[in-house]
């Protein structure tokens, strides 16, 4: 479809209008206990028409891709905007949809057609075999997720943007039983922008061996101790920690109250920007949709705003929020390019994209050797936080006890709880580049109507002091 040509044919009396065509092919292959559970492809394709009339945006999402269908949708969106304009929260101008032109393409090594569905199934079947190497393992699974998203965007102001994003995710998991102790270990259900190089068999086998050996460690392990102690979080647990206790509270639409009926509000106030000591001076957090291979990289957000790297927290001080151009107008906090929607049938809102904790200068050995008594946790398995993003409780799949500067034994069911700002101010060591990993998750929920979106989080290993740690039921 040539959206620019369609724009030229749409008849509308509005301050601005735009078309966002979204087509996404998602394929899941899952082999569980050596049986194929899923070989499923979904193709989501439609257009959202947005219209600005009397300072109010209205939208209409349609899968009727004919010119007459798009014209009908545009008229409906205009009428909705017009009716709502006498009750608008804020009267916008067309500057919140800047004129932009450009392209973005995920850099990939092996294209999606380099392996057939049958070849991917073969690899996942082998993965089942590689994990299933102990009688105490009761269930295994291997999953491949392939996503190919095409977003075309054109507006009445001359914007013309084309983006093509390839995401590959995978997981390998095992559940094992020893008497009444049952434990599950996964590879973290993570994903990246990349090609099918993720299914290199040596790499898959390495991941499966880790899952397999660690689930056996876990069913033989002690329960995580309870008490206040040092806590070391691996990057795949930091992913969740950053997401829930930095990302969501910094979303400007939350601070402005849009989410109070669903996801919640925020302890952060607009006047906190530039002042709040969010964490220790080792804490440096960036919004960065430009990182190659991270899950939520892109060239432009869904309002046509060009993406760039921005510091949100520098040396522990909160500088900037996660708000796009509409939020900038409402809050006067400088914008980042995070106006995102999950598909053609949802309107964009402020979202995280890639939100990363920058590396520090401590090696893994430096961190562990500095600890008298503490716990190291890897791979998130439980998460809950209040609607202001203060009181959280998170749990991990895999723990290690640290005693007198050394890792001594494996622990099962490790959990911790804390309050956001004191927690980040207890950050006492930040790992160096050698500990830095890039992760991503496809499951961030927010918005009304609800939207689930992909985010990326990269982080080194981090050490926090005097944290409440505890085990299972």
């Amino acid at each position: 479809m040539n959206l620019v040509e369609i724009i030229s044919k749409i008849d509308l009396d509005a301050e601005w209008f735009g078309l966002r065509e979204y087509k996404e092919n998602t394929t899941y292959h899952v082999i569980r206990d050596k049986n194929p559970l899923s070989n499923e492809t979904s193709i989501d394709h439609g257009i959202m028409v947005e219209v600005l009339k009397n300072g109010q945006f209205g939208y209409c999402a349609t899968s009727d891709l004919s010119l007459s269908g798009i014209q009908r949708a545009a008229t409906t969106a205009q009428e909705s905007a017009e009716r709502a304009s006498k009750y608008s929260v804020f009267s916008f101008e067309s500057n919140v949809r800047p004129k932009s032109k450009g392209e973005y393409l995920t850099p990939i090594e092996l294209p999606f057609d380099s392996l057939s569905a049958g070849e991917i199934n073969d690899i996942l079947m082998k993965a089942n075999d590689w994990i299933l190497n102990d009688d105490r393992i009761m269930s295994v699974s291997a999953m491949a997720m392939l996503v190919e998203t095409t977003i075309n965007y054109a507006c009445s102001n001359g914007s013309d943007i084309h983006q093509k994003i390839n995401i590959v995710g995978s997981d390998y998991s095992a559940t094992a039983k020893n008497g009444q102790i049952i434990q599950t270990r996964t590879d973290g259900r993570s994903g990246n922008q990349m090609g099918l190089e993720r299914f290199n068999q040596d790499l898959v086998r390495e991941k499966c061996n880790k899952v397999s050996s660690q689930v056996i460690e876990l069913i033989e392990a002690e329960q995580c101790p309870t008490g206040e102690m040092s806590l070391v979080l691996a990057p795949d647990q930091m992913m969740l920690q950053i997401h829930e206790s930095i990302g969501h509270p910094l979303e400007i639409d939350r601070i402005l109250g849009d989410e109070r009926n669903y996801a919640g509000w925020s302890f952060v106030q607009l006047e906190d920007f530039g002042k709040l000591q969010y964490g220790s001076d080792l804490m440096n957090v960036t919004f960065d949709p430009t990182v190659s291979n991270e899950m939520a990289s892109y060239g432009f957000d869904d309002g046509g705003f060009k993406a760039s790297k921005e510091h949100l927290i520098k040396d522990g001080i909160l500088l900037r929020g996660l708000g796009a151009l509409e939020s900038q107008e409402r809050s006067e906090v400088p914008a980042v390019a995070n106006f995102r929607s999950c598909s053609w049938n949802r309107a964009p809102i402020d979202r995280m994209a890639n939100l990363n904790l920058e590396a520090g200068d401590s090696s893994f050995e430096d961190i562990i050797s500095s600890i008298e008594y503490g716990v190291y946790m890897e791979t998130n398995r439980s998460w809950s936080i209040d609607d202001y993003r203060n009181k959280f409780q998170f749990g991990s799949e895999y723990g290690k006890l640290i005693e007198n500067g050394k890792i001594t034994k494996t622990l099962r069911d490790p959990n911790y709880r804390a309050i956001t700002v004191p927690f980040w101010n207890s950050l006492s060591k930040v790992g160096d580049e050698s500990t830095f990993e890039v992760h991503g998750t496809p499951n961030c929920g927010k918005g009304e109507p609800n939207q689930v979106i992909r985010v990326g989080h990269a982080s080194p290993i981090c050490l926090f002091e005097n944290i409440q740690v505890f085990g299972g039921a």
Binding site: C60, T62, A117, S384, D387
Partner: protein, 440 residues
């Protein structure tokens, strides 16, 4: 859409060869959404979305595909045939699936519920004026939702309904909130305005300064909305037979270790309200009722036909994910007006928030209190409380610590819209607990 769907399905099924088995499904909606903040419009729009799904089985191999349709018979048919051809090519390279479920004709269902909805041209003016003078935030969703499936064995199912919901919160200057949902099938402007005005009155109960309470064990009342969140957890590694068998369920202690819940706790699947389709994505039709937990004892789990094939069991035609679709918890004896007296001194929780298993195998759930929650002394509400984190097990709050259940059950409508507007909800009463663990 029903006629469109059955007609296009028939054309597609007629193209199959004898060794091909096909299930075709449709899911869709025509919805108006209005997002409200501070009793004003934040976002407004309409969504017309529908997709067709196909599951092809051939030589014990299975492949699935779904795609958005344009609702144009000629264009969509061509796309479906192209995709079906792609599936035919793909399926040859896949491994055999010994557990795959061949489509059967289980009998057909046809349920259409028509409503009387607000015309989208009138909705803003009908909804907004009564909200004036209060900080109200929420989401209006209105329109029709449809689900159908057919298969090559001859089965045809259809379910459609026209519904509306305004899910909202009212907030006072102390940032205390009341949560409500006004939902139904037939719009009544006077009833709606009375409902909003009644919410405004409830908000005035939160004008007292809130009290901080310390972590610890408290006598607790949890209202129906909070109980529905706890029951929802059973859909996520709870009542699924497959989860139990694969070591990922909080119900394993009931199955393997002889644990039970309280004699006051009974739960069943009950489709008699007609708020959700009784057929699953395979087209299989569940019984009207399925008792799950009776007086604390696990009687049945949700068993899909795939799980039944895997473990040589009898299917009760649960959904493929074996989650609750129409749960109903049995009422108890405590009258609504006696709740505070029975609680005596403790915490009154109207809503819970962000629940997750903190130890799934141990049945331990963590989450937050939210909205109108109070400290109660000698049967009287003293003040709102600050939000607290809880961390406790189903074997406590639905087990040993469950003292009594209220006599009035409420439908807590499912107003979620991930992927599309949800249907149904959880029918449940409130519960009084001897103690509940508040941890942070």
């Amino acid at each position: 859409m029903k006629e469109y769907f059955f007609k296009i399905s028939e054309k597609v099924i007629n193209t199959l060869s004898n060794d091909e088995h096909l299930t075709i499904s449709i899911n869709g909606e025509n919805s108006e959404f209005i997002r409200i903040n501070n009793a004003k419009v934040r976002q407004i729009g309409t969504v017309a979305d529908a997709s067709i799904g196909m599951e092809l089985i051939k030589n014990n191999r299975k492949v699935q595909m779904s795609f958005t349709i344009q609702r144009d018979m000629e264009k969509d048919y061509k796309i479906i045939i192209d995709y079906l051809d792609a599936m035919r090519k793909n399926i040859l390279s896949l491994p055999e699936d010994p557990l795959c479920v061949l489509p059967k004709d289980h009998g057909s269902l046809d349920e259409e519920y028509t409503g009387h909805l607000l015309n989208p041209k009138e909705s803003v003016d009908a909804l907004l004026p009564v909200m004036s003078g209060v900080d109200l935030i929420g989401i209006w969703a209105s329109g029709d939702v449809f689900v159908g499936n057919t298969n090559s064995a001859g089965q045809k199912n259809w379910f459609s309904t026209e519904t509306f919901s305004l899910d909202y919160s009212l907030i006072n200057p102390l940032k205390k909130m009341v949560k409500e949902t006004y939902a139904g099938t037939h719009w009544d402007q006077n009833d709606y305005e009375s409902f909003i005005n009644s919410s405004k009155e409830k908000l005035s109960m939160l004008n007292e300064k809130s009290r901080k309470i310390k972590p610890g064990s408290y006598r607790t009342y949890i209202a129906s909305a909070g109980v529905s969140d706890l029951i929802d957890m059973f859909s996520w590694g709870g009542v699924s037979e497959n989860s139990i068998r694969k070591g990922r369920s909080s119900f394993i202690k009931m199955r393997d270790e002889g644990k039970s819940l309280s004699p006051c706790f009974s739960l069943k699947e009950d489709f008699s309200s007609g708020t959700v389709p009784r057929f699953n994505s395979n087209g299989e039709i569940s019984d009207i009722e399925l008792p799950l937990i009776i007086n604390g004892a696990l009687k049945n789990t949700l068993i899909s036909t795939r799980t039944a094939n895997e473990y040589s069991l009898l299917s009760n035609f649960a959904s493929q994910g074996e989650y609750l679709r129409s749960p109903v918890m049995k009422e108890g004896l405590i009258e609504e007006q006696d709740i505070l007296k029975e609680l005596n001194t403790g915490v009154y929780l109207s809503n819970l928030h962000y629940l997750n298993w903190s130890d799934q195998l141990g049945g331990r759930v963590t989450g937050m209190t939210r909205y109108a929650c109070f400290w109660v002394e000698d049967g009287e509400i003293i003040s709102p409380i600050d939000d607290m984190r809880f961390d406790d097990t189903i074997y406590n709050f639905f087990g040993d610590k469950l003292e009594s259940v209220t006599s009035k059950s409420r439908l807590n409508p499912s107003v979620g819209t991930y992927g599309g507007r949800n249907l149904g909800g959880v029918h449940c009463p409130g519960i009084i607990l001897k103690s509940f663990e508040l941890t942070l």
